[in-house]
């Protein structure tokens, strides 16, 4: 039996609530905020519109956004800062990449290849393009969540204009074999886009090494502010062309009109710089915490299942199913800890996670999945607190679970005639 004192947050060094949902967003690093603040205010003279060409306020703002461009370009090993197009976030970047490429290259072909585990910003954009006459191939993934590069190779036809494959998955943290896929797309002369939102700064992401031609990135997943994103667009070998999806003043070399979010972009640049210089140490520490959490949970709880590849995984991701315990009930039981679940009850559609389904995880285990996302500001004390809490709550909820009781009695749950509803 668990010592209740151990679960008293006051007795340990943790402050509640604890944030362990770093795949959803991240807090802004204080150093990032500090660099942003002058760009809001009159006194600093840095609040100008980066598109103002006639005075120092505009020049100062433009200089700041170009500096940020350079910092982000360095993080992903782009050849030039001119390859970074600022957007409002990764959803816009994904839309611009897919619709912009499809529209520009439609005379060359009408076929796009992607995967079933992409983010909705990709999947729903693909559905829109299908309505407009494009043909989309949705590749399946293996039980570890990875795409087989040979499947990509086989799917390419002479009508294929674009392959879009995420660098790392937001639910299960699975890292895709982009380098191998990039070799194939380059050889076949097909453009490669990657939704790199979860991977940039967390696992190696190098647009040269991976032959990535377009990449969607967002600041708020890497300790920058919300509402600012970027699309990397390769400028040579090959030079990628896009049809703008936002018409207006012709900002961003005509690829994305709209006044730049200067403070946000400055913050994005600083966040990228911190990732480039400190990311490795940060990720090693996060990985150790993730493993500490995983081993503590798995050694104390029976019938747990890890969703997605253990080997090719984001360092901060732990997506785990506690069999016989429904995910939303679990989240309610640990309500002082912010996590996420693939359970249907957490979604408006009442369908369990399509990503887990694509892996072949059964619906009952999908309903029982919890996603822990660890990040920069978590501590070992928090990990220990969360592990103790989860262990005690799984026991509590299993004591209440008819399925666990049946399992313990040796009843095969698959043999039971359930009443679907």
């Amino acid at each position: 039996m668990l010592d209740p004192k151990k679960l008293d947050a006051k007795a340990t060094a943790v402050k509640l609530p604890i944030f362990m949902d770093y795949h959803s967003t991240t807090p802004v690093d204080p150093r990032v905020l500090e660099e942003m603040l002058p760009y809001f205010q009159l006194e600093s003279g840095k609040f100008g519109n980066a598109a103002s060409r006639s005075h120092v306020f505009g020049w100062t703002a433009e200089e700041a956004t170009d500096y940020a461009r350079d910092r982000l370009a360095k993080l992903i090993n782009a050849q030039s800062e001119k390859e970074i197009v600022w957007t409002s976030g990764a959803t816009e970047s994904d839309n611009l990449a897919l619709k912009g490429v499809a529209e520009f290259y439609k005379d060359k072909g009408n076929h796009i290849i992607t995967t079933v585990t992409e983010h909705k910003a990709i999947l729903d954009t693909c559905k829109r393009l299908e309505k407009e006459g494009f043909v989309v191939t949705y590749l399946g993934v293996a039980t570890d969540g990875r795409v087989d590069p040979d499947d990509v190779k086989r799917a390419i036809t002479d009508k294929t204009i674009l392959v879009s494959i995420m660098a790392a998955n937001n639910e299960i943290g699975t890292v895709q074999p982009l380098e191998e896929i990039g070799k194939i797309t380059r050889e076949r002369g097909v453009l490669l886009h990657s939704d790199a939102v979860q991977s940039v700064g967390k696992v190696p992401f190098d647009v040269q090494k991976m032959n990535v031609d377009l990449a969607s990135i967002t600041a708020h997943k890497m300790y920058g502010p919300k509402g600012v994103g970027a699309l990397y667009v390769r400028r040579s070998k090959p030079r990628v062309r896009l049809v703008a999806q936002m018409d207006g003043g012709g900002h961003e070399r005509g690829m994305r009109s709209g006044t730049l979010n200067v403070p946000g972009i400055v913050g994005f640049g600083k966040a990228a710089e911190i990732m480039r210089t400190e990311g490795k140490a940060d990720n090693e520490r996060i990985f150790r915490m993730r493993e500490r959490l995983r081993t503590r949970l798995q050694s104390a709880i029976d019938e747990t299942y890890i969703n997605g590849s253990m080997e090719h995984r984001l360092p901060g991701n732990l997506n785990i199913s506690f069999n016989f315990v429904e995910g939303e009930a679990m989240m309610m039981a640990i309500k002082d800890v912010a996590v996420s679940s693939g359970s249907a009850c957490t979604s408006a559609s009442l369908e369990p996670s399509y990503v887990l389904r694509a892996l072949g995880v059964g619906d009952e285990l999908a309903h029982s999945s919890i996603r822990f996302g660890l990040g920069r500001f978590n501590t070992d004390a928090e990990v220990d607190y969360v592990a103790d809490l989860v262990i005690s709550k799984v026991k509590h909820l299993r004591d209440m679970s008819p399925l666990y009781e049946m399992h313990k009695e040796g009843i095969d749950l698959k043999s039971v005639q359930w009443t679907a509803h």
Partner: protein, 134 residues
């Protein structure tokens, strides 16, 4: 989603969690829902000779609202006659727990669980009477 205080209260302190002997002729067991749908409720009643539910137990695999609905159901049916218990409607549970539309199916499942437990109890009684008559 934000839960009502009553849901949280029941989910954190569920009443009548447990198991009755399903082979006892005075016990009716209802098992409804499906693991693949994300909720399974088992509700059991123990009925006295004069038709009063003297004990009720449940176990639920499901979200907080499902746990709260079944916990409330056991609380309500205890002390009622079988006929009275059979009149409990899911809408009563929705009102009491202030369930949002997306959670109404939890209350439906609880009503089904009550009805299913009663049906099981009645089937056992019929079988018992038939055995006696022979």
């Amino acid at each position: 989603m934000a839960y009502s205080e009553k849901v949280i209260e029941h989910a954190e302190n569920p009443r009548n969690v447990g198991t009755l002997d399903k082979d006892d002729p005075s016990v009716g067991t209802g098992l409804v829902g499906a693991p693949a749908c994300g909720d399974v409720m088992r509700l059991q009643i123990k009925v006295s000779d004069n038709g009063v539910i003297e004990d009720a137990k449940f176990k639920t695999f499901g979200c907080g609202s499902a746990i709260a609905s079944s916990s409330l159901a056991t609380e309500w049916i205890k002390g009622k006659t079988v006929d009275e218990a059979a009149t409990i409607k899911n809408s009563d549970i929705v009102t009491e727990l202030n369930l949002p539309p997306v959670k109404i199916h939890c209350s439906v499942l609880a009503e089904d669980a009550i009805k299913s437990a009663i049906a099981d109890y009645r089937a056992k009684q019929t079988a018992k009477r038939a055995a006696k008559a022979q």
